[in-house]
Amino acid sequence: MSRESSPLWEVFVRARRGLSHTHVGSLHAPDAELALRNARDVYTRRQEGVSIWVVPAAAITASSPDEKDAFFEPAADKVYRHPTFYEVPDGVAHL
C-alpha cells in the first residue's frame, strides 16, 4: 500500500457575522484549496453564511494542556437534518 501524503488540517468557522472564527474540527486534504472545499462540505452541512479558515495542523504550535474548548452549533439549512423536522406521533416518548 502506498504511503498517502494527505495532511491534517484544522478547520475554523465563523458561524455568523460578528462572531470570531471558532475551531470546529479537522479533516484531511492534499492541499489548501481542497481543504477549504472539504471544510465547507464536512463542517457546514447544516449552516450557511459562514467564513472558513483552514490551517495545516502541522503549522500549529500548541502551548500547554490548558486548551480552550470549542463548541459547534448546527444552524438551519437542510431542515430535514434536524430531528424536529420529523413528525412524531402524539405521545411517543424518548425519540
Binding site: S2, S26, P30, P65, D66, F71
Partner: protein
C-alpha cells in the same frame, strides 16, 4: 438545499435523549468554566494528577499526560466507532438508488452522508491520541480492528431503512448519549455533535416505519418483517452481558464508559415498547412484559452465540462489507496519489498559500 415543503425547525429544546445530549453539552461548558487547574506541578505525580482531573469531572485534553492503557482503550473504542460509521453507510446506501419517492431519496442521501461525516469527526478525535487516519483505515481494511456487528446484516427491503433508523440508530444513541460525558474531551465533543445529528436519523427511521405501518397491507407487512429481523440484532448492539464483558470495569473507572451493557440494553427496551405500540408494530418477543417490581420490562435476551459468530466474521454480510470497503479504497488510490502529486508540484513552485 432545495425544498420549500420543509417546515422551519422547531427551536424548542428537545426532550428525551436529545435533551440529555444538550444537558451533557451544558455540563461540558460548565466543567470548562469552573476554575480548573493547569498542568501538573513539576514535582507532582502524573498519575495522581490524571486521577484528579477525572475525579473532578474535568476533561482530559490531547496534550495532557495519560496512562498508556487509557490512550490505547480510547484509540480502540473511537476507531471502532469511526469504522462503524463508515461501514454503516453501506446497508442504507443500498437503498438510495431505489428510494420510493424523491423526498425519501434526498433524506436518505443526506443521512448516509452524515455517517461519512461522523466517521470523519471520530477519526479526527482518534488522531488527537497520536495515531494517523491512514493507520486506522489500514487496521479496518486488514480486519485487525472491528466495526459494529449490526452492519453485517442485509437490508432486504425499504422497510429495513426505517428499522435501521428506529432501532439501530436508536440503540446507537442510547449507547452514545453517555459518551457525550466521556472524560476525553475530543471524544465527548465529537459525540455531542454526532448525537445531535443521529437524532434526525432516528426520527426519519421512525417516520418511515410509521408511514409504512399505516399504509397498504403490503407496506405494513414489510414494516413488521423488518422489525422482526432487526429487533434482536439491535439488542445485541449493547454487547455481551455484563458478566462476560472484558473491558467494562476499567473503562467505567476512567469515565470512558458510564453505564453497563445490560443497563443500557434495558433502557433501550423500555423506550421501544411504547414506540412500537404507537407504530402498531409487534416486537417479536412473546415474553416481553412489564415487571412491576423492577419497574422495567422483562425481555428475551438476544442470541449471544450468534453475536459471537458475526463478530468472528460469519455474519451474512461480513465479507461483502469488507470487500466493498477494500475495493473503494483500492479504486481511489490513484486519485489520492494524483492529488498528492499535484500538491507537491504546487508547493515546489510557490509558497503554500493558506486560505483567509
Amino acid at each position: 438545499m432545495y425544498g420549500n415543503d420543509f417546515s422551519a425547525p422547531d427551536d424548542a429544546p428537545g426532550g428525551g435523549l436529545l435533551g440529555e445530549v444538550e444537558a451533557a453539552e451544558a455540563a461540558l461548558r460548565e466543567a470548562a468554566a469552573r476554575a480548573r487547574r493547569g498542568g501538573p506541578a513539576p514535582d507532582e505525580d502524573l498519575e495522581a494528577y490524571f486521577a484528579d482531573v477525572i475525579d473532578a469531572d474535568q476533561k482530559i485534553e490531547p496534550r495532557d499526560w495519560m496512562p498508556e492503557a487509557y490512550r490505547k482503550t480510547l484509540i480502540r473504542q473511537i476507531a471502532q466507532h469511526a469504522h462503524s460509521e463508515i461501514i454503516g453507510m453501506q446497508p442504507e446506501g443500498n437503498w438510495i438508488s431505489r428510494a420510493p419517492s424523491l423526498k425519501r431519496k434526498a433524506i436518505l442521501l443526506a443521512k448516509v452522508q452524515d455517517e461519512a461525516g461522523h466517521g470523519l469527526y471520530l477519526y479526527a478525535a482518534a488522531e488527537t491520541l497520536g495515531v494517523s487516519r491512514d493507520e486506522l483505515v489500514e487496521l479496518l481494511i486488514s480486519g485487525r480492528q472491528k466495526y459494529s456487528s449490526i452492519f453485517n446484516y442485509p437490508t432486504l427491503t425499504w422497510a429495513d431503512v426505517g428499522a435501521i433508523g428506529w432501532l439501530v440508530d436508536g440503540a446507537a444513541i442510547v449507547n452514545q448519549v453517555p459518551l457525550c460525558r466521556c472524560s476525553y474531551g475530543p471524544y465527548a465533543r465529537a459525540m455531542i455533535r454526532v448525537c445531535k445529528e443521529e437524532s434526525f436519523h432516528q426520527r426519519q427511521g421512525y417516520e418511515i416505519l410509521h408511514t409504512l405501518a399505516h399504509g397498504t397491507p403490503g407496506q405494513k407487512a414489510m414494516a413488521q418483517d423488518a422489525v422482526d429481523r432487526w429487533w434482536y440484532p439491535s439488542l445485541a448492539m449493547f454487547g455481551p452481558p455484563d458478566g462476560d464483558s472484558t473491558h467494562s470495569a476499567q473503562s467505567m473507572a476512567w469515565k470512558i464508559k458510564r453505564f453497563s451493557n445490560d443497563d443500557l440494553r434495558q433502557r433501550f427496551v423500555d423506550m421501544c415498547v411504547q414506540q412500537a405500540e404507537i407504530l402498531g408494530l409487534r416486537i417479536p418477543d412473546p415474553d416481553l412484559r412489564w415487571n412491576d417490581e423492577r419497574q422495567a420490562y422483562d425481555y428475551t435476551q438476544p442470541d449471544y452465540d450468534e453475536l459471537m459468530q458475526v463478530i468472528k466474521g460469519n455474519g451474512p454480510c461480513n465479507r461483502q462489507r469488507m470487500e466493498h470497503r477494500r475495493r473503494a479504497h483500492a479504486d481511489g488510490a490513484w486519485v489520492r496519489e494524483a492529488a498528492a502529486a499535484y500538491a507537491a508540484k504546487r508547493s515546489a513552485n510557490n509558497k503554500e498559500k493558506v486560505a483567509a
